[in-house]
Amino acid sequence: MNTAPITSWEGAEAYFTFADKPALLVLFTLIGIGVCVWTIASMASHENKAYKDM
């Protein structure tokens, strides 16, 4: 998979992976937020179970 937004270092600016595909960057952001929210939900679920099991 070619993820490079540049074809030469000459005059390169933003050179990070997928820098030329903003829709993908938005997608990565949304997935990242989703991972955080999901983990917090999992945390709450773990606590509920732990309190019930005591």
């Binding site: 600016e13 050179y15 903003p22 960057l25 955080c36 709450a44």
Partner: protein, 448 residues
């Protein structure tokens, strides 16, 4: 050997380019190490809060710190940095703030932007500090999930508005009221302290903290030496924090308000502030825990005008803060029944207010680059804004979490110990811990 004018001009251009690049790299290096040093703040909060907890809660207390730190890094990337750039004028979005959106070309490796990443990093550590300020107050009874939600909201939204309004060259508190708060006493400490107060009101005290007649029981942590070392680490980390509060331009230093300053000024007054706060807190408490908290009070008391104070004055202002804040904590606990396990509301919340007001008293008349000169009224009014900005969201969000059952652990889990309830490993599996501090619910602390 004679050189032609074009050759000399070319060499001059080359030298200027090299100098410019050296300045840029020096700036990156400076903030890189400030950020690294700020990690000591979080190592310190970790040790300090685990030590301030009873043995049965030590790891659960530490988990909070670790989780807040881990979650705040992406949260500040996703939204916090953009809020800082977007809202210096209030609630309308400023031009150019799109550079802080997580899908912007500035928010990743970019050969034409040496600043965004390094400032994002420094501000992220400031953000994590706000969450750590709250963290110690709520130990031994808050749910980790509820705490994480509160920490995310405080660290990536609430304090960022305060920073954008008052710790930004174009922030309206400065351009309209002349606020001067170079060390972020208001934007970080007051906001976090008053957010914490709002949370504590809804969270309630630990079981056994107060008797039926209203008298107070001390609930000692299990490892005071660890807490003291942690507090000293926080003080060390504050040299990174305060270093990150000054702008390196290559030929001079500037405050965040674009007024000229020196790092020497910060060095004088930070150290004198630390000493003043420690001595003041010792005088009124004789307690090593409060003496080290006094060091933080001292830093915060002098922080708003670190660039301006005569060091002997910074010492006295911080000494005053060190004398007053432990007594304020006594009032919060004894009179208002606020169970703040580490005194963070007094140390950070009221310590920040004290620092802002003292800058209004002793630094009035200094010119700002944008906005009116520093004044007592401007400092006091800004302090009130920071107090409300911290307290209101902390109270409302914690109330919502309380209603949906995400704020506080069950009584059974609290009595047994949160480590036993939630953490899959043991803090002291092979050591001998006094029976009164074990996970054995049959041997609760005397207060319980």
């Amino acid at each position: 050997m004679e050189q032609s004018v074009p050759e000399l001009m070319a060499r001059l251009d080359s030298l200027e380019a090299s100098l410019s690049m050296a300045t840029t790299i020096n700036s990156e290096v400076f903030y890189w190490w400030c950020t690294a040093l700020m990690l000591a703040i979080h190592a310190g909060f970790l040790a300090y809060e685990m030590g301030a907890s009873r043995a049965k809660n030590a790891l659960a207390s530490g988990m909070k710190n670790l989780i807040a730190f881990a979650f705040l890094i992406p949260a500040f990337y996703y939204i916090g940095w953009w809020i800082y750039l977007a809202f210096p004028t209030g609630f309308t979005i400023s031009d150019g703030s799109e550079a802080g959106l997580p899908w912007s070309a500035n928010m990743g490796p970019n050969l034409t932007d040496n600043a965004s990443g390094i400032f994002y990093a420094a501000f992220t550590l400031f953000a994590a500090t706000t969450a750590s300020i709250m963290s110690g107050s709520v130990i031994e009874r808050i749910r980790i999930s509820g705490f994480t939600i509160l920490a995310l909201f405080l660290g990536s939204v609430v304090w960022v508005f305060g920073a954008s309004w008052g710790w930004h060259p174009d922030g309206w508190l400065t351009t309209e009221w002349g606020l001067h708060d170079v060390g972020a006493a208001g934007a970080v400490h007051t906001i976090a302290g008053f957010f914490t107060l709002g949370v504590l009101i809804n969270l309630g005290p630990r079981i056994g903290r107060f008797n039926a007649d209203g008298s107070v029981n001390n609930i000692d942590g299990h490892n005071m030496p660890m807490s003291l070392i942690g507090l000293m680490l926080i003080v060390m980390g504050f040299f990174g924090f305060l270093g990150g509060c000054i702008i390196y331009t290559g030929d001079t230093w500037m405050t965040i308000y674009n007024t000229p300053a020196t790092l020497s000024a910060f060095a004088f007054n930070t150290l004198m502030g630390v000493a003043g706060g420690m001595i003041g807190a010792y005088l009124v408490t004789r307690d090593p825990f409060w003496m080290m908290s006094g060091a933080l009070i001292g830093v915060i008391s002098s922080a708003p005008a670190l660039d301006l104070y005569y060091p002997g004055l910074a010492f006295l202002i911080s000494f005053g803060g060190g004398c007053i804040m432990p007594k304020l904590n006594d009032i919060l606990v004894g009179k208002f029944k606020i169970d703040d396990a580490v005194g963070a509301v007094a140390v950070h919340g009221f310590g920040g207010v004290w620092g802002l007001i003292m800058a209004g008293v002793f630094a009035s008349g200094y010119q700002n680059v944008a906005g009116p000169e520093i004044s007592f009224v401007g400092q006091l009014s800004s302090a009130v804004v920071f107090m409300i900005l911290g307290f209101a969201p902390g109270y409302v969000l914690s109330l919502i979490l309380k209603v949906v059952g995400l704020l506080r652990v069950t009584d059974k889990a609290e009595l047994a110990g949160l480590d036993k309830a939630e953490v899959p490993v043991s803090a002291y599996p092979e050591s001998t811990v006094p029976a009164a501090f074990t996970n054995d619910p049959a041997s609760p602390t005397p207060a319980e």
